[in-house]
């Protein structure tokens, strides 16, 4: 009865309270925002059930703040309003009091949380905000199931934890800290779930169901994600039940621990009437000190510092502050331990730039954000909460000083938090044995760039708290505002002048420092600092003193009174700065540079296509030779490119006009033709030019095209700062040089944008069987193999590298010049590098090997050298002779991708140079080198026909296969299998997020197929038919096409070679792995061992198998299976592999259940089907089981397969 009354009273109290509904509104908004902010896939429906479930969880995690407010209030309110003595002395039982309060808070929160599905539903209706997204059919269950299965149980759990925290500490701050802790704990768990081998364990250690949901959705294809409702999968059910039980246990603990008693000393209590203290009064003669205050600037300054110091000391006195500081050190350590895992399992060293940028700047960023939100509110409310405000507010303290002091305190706290985090960062480095600390870089990044962002947000947070004047609503609104500053671009607000705290971003590079980023960043931050000043003025005139209930009108009137001359002057200065700095930035972003939305940018390429596509088939000469003089000015930055092309008519018809295309960012000083020609079209804006030749160029004839162009960026743009020409580490290619003829490469590829801009969709890429399209060489149409002679000038202290052999190098006018010339016609990329390089040299046979690297990056040079040697060794023996006379690796700043291959030159970004390879890990610098060197054969000399489906198979698949083989030869089979496991996993992950899946031979721009599936397909074929046969096929294919002349090969040519070497009985492999999308699902049901009379052990395996074909959208149909699959029996072993094989042989496995008997000489520990996970099988458990003695009829326990 009493329980009911407590419940009803509490429920009514909460539902009448305005803040309840504001929380609901906030949650609705959060749900709406995340729905649109996270829409990025064009294949998964906006309202796909799995996506909705994920969004529900994310919104629910942010909703923990609401849960903290509701449950915290329910548990602490009595003490806060000092009703506890009345309540605790009533004949109420603990269970009734706590139970009623808890259930009421839960009921209210459940009602409030309905805002999440509602917000998602409204967001679905507002799908026009996301024109690219597709809305699937509406299903109510898709919205309600996540609410019921995820959100509600989470509320019970989180509510129980927070309610308990609140009831036991009787304070609010620990509740928020606990909520933040839970949030962070979950992110950590999600971060590390991938490392836990047992999927079942992951499902159970995940309190909110986030990892469970991820696992459930992991390898689902788009079609499955769109179609499948969440339902109640077994694992999710167990997870929910387990954590509900935990919640019950926590509540039981609370019931045991909670006492109806006075909060005791140290609680925050107001004093009203009070009893006399125990100390006696000793008569003291009366004397009133007559010290009068003095007022002026110095006093105000002193007061500001006093407020700051006092607020800081007050916060720091709480024992929670120490916990927070500890967390600020511990969390980066936890989150940053695996920083920079770049490829496979190899991570880079925890170099300072990664620790500062990735760990402190990205992974840890949530924490300072949450803390600044929390403490901004605490600082604004502290005096009122403790009740000292009545006295303090009547002190002769200017409003601005009260605010400024608290801002300073918040700034000091942020400095402390960041310093603690920095210690965490240093610990990551020290504990992993990396001692090249860069304190200067830490200071600049953490206390320069990052602190400035937090400070600006801190001003915003305090201003909002002052204006909102309701602590908890303030927290929610501040959180929303901060969130909005992060996701505004998703709502089309892209100009950094419009989003508080906006800036163009930055990337630090060891080679190039902050490079071009620091200037624009500083300008934008200065601009936002001016806004912050204005906000501070607003906050200071709105500062609340006393406890006047704040009507808007009254506060406006009061603010009006407070607009004194100095305040007005400050506001004037702020506005002047906003206008001045904003104007300067606008001049840079919108006048010196073009500010264009992505669609406007697309419109330019659409116009290029619309106007000039009619020239696509106009016969044009091709570049046969090029003489170039490139002047790089790294400091400015600028590049001048002069030179000439020898254009040859390789067609069979006379050519009467030459079309020259220059990219719009390049300025042409002159373009001239050797023979008389009239410019019939000069389109400066789009960069297209047509010169009519007076005398046509006959087939086989050639003429010179001279040009003098320059690339000189001015000012800075709103985003996307150019990083091609930088102070140290310039790297660019031919894109600033003139192109001959219309280049389809520049056409807009995105179909949505094309439709929007009135262009017909691009025709599907021709298939590999389409003979008509085999004449184009990827990627440019105007050059085939070209003789290039290039002089590159650069700063005196830099080395310039380009394709060809170095002829000589000299100094001239304080600049350094390098003359390079190709020794044979070479693919024309005109790639140029320039930096203050150090050089490491070696040779393999008569081929000089060199690595141009950043001076400090020496850790992996030996691995790369070994990679080059091992690759040349294997490839020349297996595929054909090395066609070039040298091989080199060039380091480039980490602005771009990972690695790229050019003729006899491999470009690696810095990350490869600070890779750290530990015992047992894939040697990434070695593997990467092997991959890129393999491109000399695959994609370099033998290159597939341009724009034809299947081209990726001919380059990336073969490069990866080659690199795996070199790895196997150097590091052994185990290592190759490891690589295989990673490739398989990435393929499965890739197909879950991508739109259409096609067979390998039809692969389009789908790296997860070309790189990943290609690698495992080739390696699997190798496993079945042997290395010799596969390499013979590759050798033949290389021989046939090494001349580099059209017609160019397609995937079918390669497949034909592979078919020729594959025995009839195994040709199904080519169908399954190369020509279709095939999946397997095998599982060992039972593994039983019996001793045989002969002294051996007979293992009986019950296995079940099936084979599926998937269509392009992921719909699967089962097909009969009769494939060779490995069966293995293993002795007990250590490590995470299945153990030492006692038996390992391929068996014919049919669809369905079957029994296999194997006899082994020694006692087996485990047995199973496909133990090394060579098949494309989405479930990674149940392949191998621990064997059971025959008597036992229990189901065998699954162990994890090797990965």
């Amino acid at each position: 009865m009493k329980l009911r009354e407590v419940f009803r009273y509490e429920l009514a109290y909460r539902l009448r309270s305005g803040s309840t509904w504001i929380y609901a509104g906030a949650l609705l908004l959060v749900a709406f925002l995340v729905f649109h902010a996270t829409a990025d896939s064009d294949v998964i429906h906006l309202n796909a059930p799995i996506r909705l479930a994920g969004l529900t969880l994310i919104a629910g995690m942010l909703g923990m703040l609401v849960t903290a407010a509701l449950f915290g209030d329910a548990a602490v309110r009595d003490v806060a309003v000092e009703m506890d003595p009345l309540l605790f002395t009533s004949p109420l039982r603990k269970a009734e009091h706590l139970g009623g309060r808890f259930l009421a808070a839960l009921a209210v929160n459940a009602i409030v949380a309905l805002a999440v599905p509602l917000g998602l539903f409204i967001a679905t209706l507002a799908s026009f905000l996301n024109p690219e997204g597709i809305v699937g059919p509406f299903r109510l269950s898709a919205y309600l199931q996540p609410y019921l299965l995820l959100l509600l149980p989470n509320l019970v759990l989180v509510g129980a934890l927070l309610f308990t925290t609140a009831a036991l500490t009787r304070q609010v701050v620990p509740v928020y800290l606990a909520a933040i802790g839970l949030l962070i704990g979950n992110v950590v768990a999600a971060n590390y779930a991938g490392h836990i081998q047992s999927a079942a364990l992951v499902l159970l250690v995940d309190p909110l169901g986030l990892c469970t949901l991820q696992q459930l959705a992991e390898y689902l294809t788009a079609a499955e994600q769109n179609a499948r409702l969440l339902g109640l999968p077994e694992m999710l059910g167990w997870n929910r039940l387990a954590w509900l039980a935990v919640a019950m246990a926590v509540l039981a603990l609370l019931h045991r621990t909670f006492r109806f008693e006075h909060a005791g000393i140290g609680g925050r209590r107001r004093t009203r009437r009070a009893i006399v203290g125990p100390e006696s009064m000793r008569p003291v003669p009366l004397a009133i000190p007559r010290v009068v205050g003095s007022f002026g600037f110095r006093t105000t300054l002193r007061q500001v510092l006093a407020i700051a110091g006092h607020s800081l000391a007050e916060a720091a006195a709480s024992r929670w502050f120490a916990v927070v500081l500890l967390a600020c050190t511990g969390l980066p350590l936890l989150w940053g331990w695996n920083v920079g895992s770049t490829v496979f399992d190899t991570s880079t060293w925890p170099v300072t730039l990664l620790v500062t940028e990735t760990v402190l700047g990205t992974r840890f960023a949530l924490v300072p954000h949450l803390l600044l939100i929390l403490y901004a509110g605490e600082l604004v409310w502290k005096d009122r909460d403790t009740g000292v405000a009545e006295i303090a507010d009547a002190a002769p303290l200017p409003d601005g000083a009260a605010l400024l002091g608290r801002l300073l305190a918040l700034a000091a706290m942020l400095v402390l938090f960041l310093a603690a985090a920095m210690i965490g960062g240093l610990l990551i480095q020290a504990l992993q044995g990396y001692y090249r600390f860069e304190p200067g870089l830490y200071l600049r990044v953490v206390f320069g760039l990052q602190l400035s962002e937090y400070l600006l947000l801190a001003v915003l947070a305090m201003t909002i708290h002052v204006l909102v004047n309701h602590k908890y609503v303030g927290h929610v609104i501040v959180a929303l505002a901060v969130l909005f500053t992060k996701i505004a671009p998703a709502f089309g607000i892209r100009h950094n002048l419009l989003v508080y705290n906006g800036d163009p971003g930055w990337t630090y590079s060891d080679m190039n420092g902050f490079g071009p980023f620091i200037g624009p960043f500083a300008w934008f931050k200065a601009y936002w600092a001016a806004w912050a000043l204005l906000l501070a003025v607003v906050a200071s005139v709105s500062w609340v003193r006393g406890r006047e209930p704040g009507g808007v009108r009254r506060r406006l009137r009061q603010a009006g009174v407070r607009f004194t001359k100095p305040v007005l002057r400050t506001a004037g200065v702020a506005i002047a700065l906003i206008l001045g700095l904003g104007g300067f930035i606008f001049y840079n972003t919108n006048v010196l540079n073009e500010y264009r939305s992505p669609m406007e940018r697309a419109a330019r390429w659409a116009e290029y296509e619309q106007r000039y596509v009619r020239h696509a088939d106009t016969p044009q000469p091709t570049i046969a030779a090029a003489g170039l003089r490139v002047e790089i000015h790294p400091a400015e930055p600028a590049v001048d490119l002069r030179g000439s092309y020898r254009l040859m008519n390789r067609t069979e018809t006379p050519i009467d006009s030459v079309h020259v295309y220059l990219r719009p960012e390049v300025r042409a000083r002159s373009i001239s033709l050797e023979r008389a020609a009239a410019p019939v079209l000069i389109d400066e804006e789009l960069g297209y030019r047509i010169y009519a030749l007076e005398q046509p160029l006959e087939p086989g004839e050639s003429l010179q095209l001279g040009f003098d162009v320059s690339f000189r960026p001015r000012g800075f743009p709103n985003s996307g700062l150019q990083t091609d020409v930088v102070g140290n580490g310039a790297s660019f290619n031919r894109s600033w040089l003139p192109f001959i003829g219309y280049q389809p490469m520049f056409e807009l590829a995105d179909d949505e944008a094309r439709e929007h801009l009135g262009l017909a969709p691009r025709p599907a890429a021709p298939g590999p069987g389409d003979a008509a399209s085999l004449q184009d060489r990827w990627p440019w149409r105007d050059a085939d193999l070209v003789d290039v002679d290039m002089i590159v000038g650069t700063a005196a202290d830099q080395v310039a590298v380009t394709i060809g052999a170095l002829q000589r190098s000299w100094m001239e006018n304080g600049r350094r010049y390098f003359h390079y010339a190709t020794e044979q016609p070479t693919a024309f990329g005109a790639t140029v590098f320039s930096a203050r390089y150090a050089l490491r040299e070696d040779r393999w046979q008569d081929i000089p090997l060199s690595i141009f690297h950043h001076r400090a990056h020496t850790d992996n040079l030996d691995r790369m050298m070994r990679g080059m040697k091992a690759s040349l060794e294997y490839y020349t023996a297996q595929f054909g002779p090395y066609p070039d006379r040298q091989l080199r690796i060039v380091e480039i700043p980490r602005y771009g991708g990972f690695g790229s291959a050019h003729p006899h030159t491999v470009a690696f970004t810095e990350d490869v140079f600070f890779s750290r390879v530990r015992e047992g890990e894939v040697d990434q610098p070695f593997y990467g080198t092997a991959h890129e060197v393999a491109h000399t054969w695959w994609g370099g000399w033998v290159r597939g026909a341009a724009g034809v489906r299947g081209a990726g198979f001919l380059s990336e698949s073969l490069a990866n296969y080659s690199a795996m083989m070199v790895t196997e030869k150097t590091y052994g089979l185990e290592m190759a299998r490891r690589v295989y496991g990673f490739q398989l996993e990435r393929y499965l992950r890739g197909r879950a997020t991508q739109a259409r899946e096609v067979p390998l031979v039809e692969v389009e721009d789908q790296p997860y197929i070309a790189y990943r599936k290609g690698a495992i397909a080739m390696y699997t074929l190798r496993e079945h038919i042997g290395e010799e046969r596969v390499n013979t096929a590759l050798r033949r294919y290389f021989e046939k096409h090494r001349d580099g002349r059209p017609p160019y090969p397609t995937s079918l040519d390669l497949l034909a070679e592979l078919r020729a070497v594959t025995p009839e009985a195994l040709r199904y492999l080519l169908t399954d792995w190369f020509e279709t999308v095939t999946l397997w699902d095998v599982e060992t049901k039972r593994a039983v061992v019996e001793r045989t009379t002969a002294g051996g052990y007979q293992v009986t395996l019950d296995v079940v198998a099936k084979k599926l074909h998937a269509d392009s959208t992921g719909n699967e149909t089962e097909v009969p299976m009769d494939d060779l699959v490995e069966i293995g029996v293993f002795a007990a072993g250590e490590g995470d592999g299945p153990g030492e094989p006692l038996y390992l042989r391929r068996h014919r496995i049919r669809s369905g259940e079957q029994t296999i008997r194997v006899t082994v000489p020694r006692a087996p520990a485990r047995a199973g089907i496909d133990p090394y996970r060579m098949l494309i099988d989405r479930t990674d458990y149940g392949n191998v089981l621990e064997v059971q003695a025959a008597a036992g009829s229990r189901r065998s326990r699954p162990v994890n397969a090797a990965r």
């Binding site: 000393i265 140290g266 609680g267 925050r268 209590r269 107001r270 004093t271 009203r272 009437r273 009070a274 009893i275 006399v276 203290g277 125990p278 100390e279 009064m281 000793r282 008569p283 003291v284 009366l286 009133i288 000190p289 007559r290 010290v291 009068v292 205050g293 003095s294 007022f295 110095r298 006093t299 002193r302 007061q303 006093a306 407020i307 006092h310 000391a313 007050e314 006195a317 502290k382 403790t386 009740g387 000292v388 009545e390 006295i391 303090a392 507010d393 009547a394 002190a395 002769p396 303290l397 200017p398 003193r545 006393g546 406890r547 006047e548 209930p549 009507g551 009254r554 009137r557 009174v561």
Partner: protein
């Protein structure tokens, strides 16, 4: 030095009329504001203490407009609110120093002296290092007094200051106030009639937001001389006495009820005349026999 409150009205957003056309002139010295709980005393105090704004009317400290020049008022203001709290984790000395800075005492030496002297005055010197969270109610109240006396304030507002003080402390505190009142305006707000009677040269009685009486305590007591009568009655008689006579107060005394009646002449043989005190003034005014409610022209006018 004079505090002039003119026609001040204040209505809260929820419709409660806290003050209605309140006018008072408060000279240097102790001024007592008497009224029962909820009469509007604290609202008036907070308005004078710059923490609220009146809807209408004005308040001037000499020629300082209190609602417009709050910063200047605050420089000479000592305020002890009715209810307040302190940061629990700070020592008394530390917090008092903090307030000294806020009150503009920036010179370290002077600040130390003032803080020490005030802590001694309020008998907190022995416990200066203790955290405020460990203070008893009386200690906290005394600490509040110390804060209010910082910076030699010329306008002191104390809202129910003696509540929670033991008799000895109360005497000391009132003495302290009396001494300050010699050259400051001290506004003492209380519902304890004795506080006012003992100390205040002037006083006002406020009820339901209106000033019922503004007078000098001694003079107004004098006016009641000969008009207060008392007798003891049994419980049965009480009802009829209350019905027939202007009873201003009743008190239980040894099982019978002592009744005090306001009357120009003896209300009956059983009544004996008594010497009036301020309580009688208070109850008479509240009962409507005297002051504004009685619609009798009030002799007590502007301060002399």
């Amino acid at each position: 030095m004079q505090l002039a409150i003119r026609n001040v009205s204040k209505t809260y957003p929820n419709g409660v009329r806290a003050l209605h056309d309140v006018s008072l002139s408060i000279p240097v010295g102790m001024f007592g504001l008497l009224g029962r709980n909820g009469a509007g005393k604290s609202t008036l105090m907070r308005i004078v203490a710059t923490l609220q704004d009146a809807d209408e009317g004005s308040i001037h400290l000499d020629d300082l407009d209190v609602s417009r020049r709050k910063d200047e008022v605050r420089r000479t203001l000592g305020y002890l609110p009715q209810s307040f709290g302190f940061h629990p984790k700070v020592s008394a000395q530390r917090l008092l120093e903090h307030f000294a800075v806020l009150k503009g005492i920036t010179d370290a030496g002077a600040r130390r002296d003032v803080v020490e002297s005030l802590l001694r005055q309020t008998n907190l010197w022995e416990v200066r290092g203790q955290k405020l969270g460990t203070f008893s109610g009386g200690m906290r109240q005394r600490f509040g007094v110390a804060v209010a006396l910082l910076g030699n304030p010329r306008l002191i507002i104390v809202d129910e200051p003696t509540a929670g003080l033991d008799p000895e402390e109360r005497v000391r505190f009132l003495n302290l106030l009396g001494e300050i009142g010699e050259d400051s305006v001290v506004l003492l707000c209380t519902h304890i009639v004795e506080d006012v009677e003992e100390l205040c040269s002037r006083m006002a009685i406020i009820d339901r937001g209106e000033i019922l009486l503004e007078a000098e305590p001694a003079r107004t007591i004098e006016q009641l001389r000969g008009r207060i009568w008392r007798r003891t009655v049994s419980r049965e008689e009480l009802a009829s006495v209350q019905r027939e006579l202007p009873v201003i107060s009743t008190r239980l005394l040894a099982g019978r009820t002592l009744v005090r009646v306001h009357a120009e002449t003896s209300p009956g043989a059983a009544f004996e005349p008594v010497e009036p005190d301020l309580k009688d003034v208070y109850f008479t005014v509240m009962a409507g026999h005297h002051g504004q409610r009685a619609s009798v022209p009030e002799a007590a006018g502007a301060a002399s």
